[in-house]
C-alpha cells in the first residue's frame, strides 16, 4: 500500500498543453477513479503516472519517492490496458510470467505466483491457452492476472471494461471491487462511464480539459457538485438546468455561500437552477412548485419512467418517476421539487450552496 502525490503535473505535446497543472494526493489503499469526457486527459495522466509518457512539468511521488525520471518498470506499478495488450504468441501462463522472468525471479516462485493469481481470477483451466483462444472477458482476467503477479504497489486501469458487453461489465466491475477489498492495493481507474465511477470509487476525480474540476467521494460529487459541469457530468439522466435570472429582492443583491467564498448575484444576473430528474415530483403540493411540464416523450424502463418534456417557456426538462406511470406525450404534469435538493449556478457555472441551505 502506497500513497501517490501529484504536484502541479503538466503535459504538453510540442506547443499544445493537454494537462494544465494537476495537484492530487492519493492515500494508501485508496481506489481513485478518473472520469471526464473524451479527450480530457485521463489516459495521459494515467500514462504519466505509469511512466509510459514523460512528465513535462511538476512532480510525481509514489510512496514518497520522486518518480519523474524512473522507468515504468521501477515504479512499482502494474497496468491493465483497454486493449488488454496480451502477448498474442505466448500462452496465458507465459503472459503472466513474462515480467517475473524478466526480473529473473526463481522458477518455483514464478509458478507459485502465477498459480495463486490464476486461482483468484478462476482462470486455472485457461493457463495453457493462447490469448486468441479466449473470450473478451477471459482476456480481461488474464490482463488483470498479469498485473497481480507482479505484486505492485499501485494498480493502474485504463478503461479496462469498455470492450466487454453490458452484463460482463457489471460482473467484472464487482470483481474489481472485490479484488481491491482483498488485496488492498492503491488503485487508479480511468473510465468515462459514470456508473463505474460511482460504484467503484473511494474517491472520484472529475477532469475536464486537462484540469481537475472536482475531487471527492461519489456522494460528495453527487450531492455537492462544485460546478455546473460536474453536476451535469455525474448522474443519469443528467441534471436539468433551468435558465433564470435574479428578479426578487429588487434593490439588493443575493449573496450566496460558494464553498467558502461569497458568490454575489445581482439583480438581473443570469443564473441556472439545477434539479436532478430523480428529484422532480409530480403534483403541485410536493415541495416547491416549478410549473407545468408538457410531455413530449416517455421512456419506460420498468422500474422507472423517464419523462421528457418542456416547460411553458420552452425550456427542456427531464423527470425520472418511480415505478410504471401511464404518462403519454401531450400530457400536462405539474412538477415540484424539494429546494434542499436543488442547486443554483451563476453565469460562470459556479455553484451556490443548495438553495435552502
Amino acid at each position: 500500500m502506497t500513497s501517490l502525490t501529484l504536484t502541479d503535473i503538466r503535459k504538453s505535446y510540442g506547443t499544445v498543453d493537454v494537462i494544465h497543472g494537476v495537484d492530487l494526493r492519493i492515500e494508501p489503499g485508496e481506489l481513485v477513479v478518473f472520469v471526464g469526457p473524451s479527450g480530457c486527459g485521463k489516459s495521459t495522466l494515467l500514462r504519466m503516472i505509469a511512466g509510459l509518457e514523460p512528465i513535462s512539468g511538476g512532480e510525481l511521488r509514489i510512496g514518497g519517492q520522486r518518480m519523474n525520471e524512473r522507468p515504468a518498470s521501477e515504479r512499482g506499478i502494474a497496468m491493465v490496458f483497454q486493449s488488454y495488450a496480451l502477448y498474442p504468441h505466448m500462452s496465458v501462463r507465459k503472459n503472466m510470467s513474462f515480467g517475473l522472468e524478466t526480473a529473473r525471479m526463481p522458477r518455483a516462485e514464478i509458478d507459485q505466483r502465477v498459480q495463486k493469481a490464476a486461482e483468484i481470477l478462476q482462470i486455472v483451466p485457461l493457463l495453457d491457452r493462447k490469448p486468441k483462444q479466449l473470450s473478451g472477458g477471459q482476456r480481461q482476467r488474464v490482463a488483470i492476472g498479469r498485473a497481480i503477479v507482479r505484486d505492485p504497489q499501485v494498480f493502474l486501469f485504463d478503461e479496462p471494461l469498455s470492450n466487454l458487453d453490458a452484463e460482463l461489465r457489471v460482473q467484472t466491475r464487482v470483481e474489481i471491487a472485490k479484488l481491491h477489498a482483498d488485496i488492498g492495493a492503491t488503485m487508479i481507474y480511468v473510465t468515462h462511464d459514470q456508473v463505474e465511477a460511482m460504484t467503484l470509487a473511494d474517491r472520484i476525480v472529475v477532469l475536464r480539459g486537462g484540469r481537475i474540476e472536482q475531487a471527492g467521494t461519489p456522494l460528495e460529487i453527487y450531492n455537492r457538485p462544485a460546478n455546473r459541469f460536474v453536476a451535469g457530468f455525474i448522474g443519469s439522466p443528467k441534471m436539468n438546468f433551468l435558465e433564470t435570472s435574479i428578479s426578487r429582492r429588487i434593490g439588493s443583491d443575493v449573496a450566496l455561500d460558494l464553498a467558502g467564498t461569497q458568490l454575489v448575484l445581482r439583480n438581473g444576473d443570469a443564473a441556472a437552477l439545477g434539479v436532478r430528474p430523480e428529484h422532480l415530483k409530480v403534483g403541485a403540493d410536493r415541495g416547491t412548485s416549478l410549473g407545468q411540464m408538457t410531455v413530449t416523450h416517455v421512456e419506460q424502463l420498468g422500474g422507472q419512467t423517464i419523462v421528457h418534456g418542456r416547460f411553458p417557456d420552452q425550456q427542456p426538462i427531464v423527470a425520472t418517476l418511480e415505478g410504471q406511470n401511464s404518462v403519454e406525450a401531450g400530457d400536462l404534469l405539474p412538477l415540484s421539487a424539494d429546494l434542499a435538493q436543488c442547486h443554483v449556478f451563476d453565469a460562470e457555472g459556479r455553484r451556490a450552496a443548495a438553495l435552502a441551505a
Partner: protein, 307 residues
C-alpha cells in the same frame, strides 16, 4: 428443404456454358498467355528433357539419361550447385538481417522517413538491371572504388575482387544484399502492425529494448520473415543477370560465378544442348519446390500466426 434434394430444373450444359462465355472471353488474354507462353513451353520442356534435342537434329528419346548424367557425371553441374547454394545460403540470410535492421531503425520514427525509405528502396528498383551490374564490376575492379578506398585508408592494395575466383562470388552476394529494399518495405509494414501497447506492457514488465526485440518483435514478425525468406530464396535460385554481366556470360573465373541459371543458359544457347538444358531446368524446379516445401513444413514450428 433438405440440401440434398435435387433441383427441379437444371439448364443443359451448353446453356450453362453459354452464360459463362462472356466471363471466359474477358479472361482470354490471360488464358492465351498462360497456355501459349507458360504451360505450353513448360510441358514441352519436360518432354525435351528426356530427349537429346540440339536444334540441328530432331529430338530423340533418351529416357532418364539426361537426369542420370546430371546426378552422376557432370562436374560443371556440381560447380554450379556449389556456387548457387553459396549464393543462396549467404545472400538470403544477410539480406533478411539487413532489411530487418534498417526497417527497425526507420520504424523508430525517424524524421524524413519517406526520404530514407525511397533511398533505401532505390537499389531494389535498379539493382537487377544490367547497368548496375556493369557499375558493380567497376566498383570491385582492381582499380575500382573499393580498392581506392582501401588504399587511401589502410594503405592496402586490394586484389581484383571480380577476377579472383575466391572472392568473385562474394561481390555478387554483396550486390544482392545491397538490394534489400523490397524486403525492408515489407518488414516496415509488418513492424507497423505490432500494436504499441504491446511494447508498453513489456516496458512495464521491465523488458529491455533487446528483450523486447527478441521476445516480442521477432516472434510477431515471423509471418513476415517467413514470407520474405521464401520469396528471397526463390529469387536467389533464379538469379542470372548479375553473374552474366560480371563474368561476361562465362561464369568465371574458373566457374566461380557459374550460377545454376548461367550454366543452364550456356548449355542451351552456347552448346545448343536443349534436351540437357531442359533437364537442368526441371532439376532447378525440383530444388526450388523442395526448399519451399521444407520452409512450409518448418513453418509450424517457428512461425506464429495470429489466427
Amino acid at each position: 428443404m433438405s440440401v440434398n434434394e435435387a433441383p427441379l430444373y437444371r439448364a443443359p450444359l451448353w446453356l450453362r456454358f453459354k452464360g459463362q462465355l462472356a466471363g471466359y472471353g474477358f479472361l482470354s488474354p490471360w488464358l492465351i498467355g498462360l497456355f501459349a507462353l507458360t504451360l505450353g513451353p513448360a510441358v514441352s520442356s519436360l518432354y525435351l528433357s528426356m530427349t537429346d534435342y540440339s536444334l540441328m537434329s530432331s529430338p530423340r528419346w533418351v529416357g532418364a539419361d539426361n537426369y542420370v548424367r546430371i546426378a552422376s557425371d557432370d562436374p560443371r553441374f556440381r560447380a554450379a550447385m556449389n556456387v548457387t547454394f553459396t549464393y543462396v545460403l549467404l545472400s538470403v540470410p544477410l539480406k533478411l538481417i539487413f532489411a530487418l535492421a534498417i526497417a527497425v531503425l526507420l520504424n523508430k520514427g525517424l524524421k524524413g522517413l519517406n526520404w530514407f525509405r525511397a533511398i533505401f528502396y532505390l537499389p531494389s528498383l535498379i539493382g537487377g538491371s544490367v547497368a548496375i551490374a556493369v557499375l558493380w564490376r567497376q566498383v570491385f575492379a582492381s582499380d575500382g572504388i573499393i580498392n581506392q578506398v582501401l588504399m587511401a585508408v589502410f594503405n592496402y592494395e586490394g586484389p581484383s575482387w571480380i577476377a579472383n575466383p575466391n572472392t568473385a562470388i562474394y561481390t555478387l552476394v554483396a550486390l544482392a544484399v545491397w538490394q534489400f529494399g523490397s524486403s525492408m518495405i515489407i518488414f516496415l509494414a509488418g513492424l507497423r502492425q505490432i500494436p504499441t501497447d504491446m511494447y508498453e506492457a513489456a516496458s512495464i514488465d521491465g523488458a529491455s529494448r533487446a528483450r523486447q526485440f527478441f521476445k516480442i518483435t521477432l516472434p510477431l514478425l515471423t509471418p513476415v520473415i517467413f514470407f520474405n525468406a521464401v520469396i528471397l530464396t526463390i529469387d536467389a535460385f533464379k538469379a542470372f543477370t548479375p553473374a552474366f554481366v560480371i563474368s561476361d556470360g562465362s561464369g568465371g573465373p574458373i566457374d566461380s560465378t557459374l550460377f545454376y541459371t548461367l550454366y543452364l543458359y550456356q548449355e542451351a544457347f552456347t552448346n545448343f544442348r536443349f534436351g540437357y538444358a531442359s533437364a537442368l531446368a526441371w532439376v532447378l524446379v525440383a530444388i526450388i519446390a523442395g526448399f519451399t516445401a521444407l520452409a512450409f513444413l518448418s513453418a509450424k514450428y517457428w512461425v506464429h500466426y495470429d489466427d
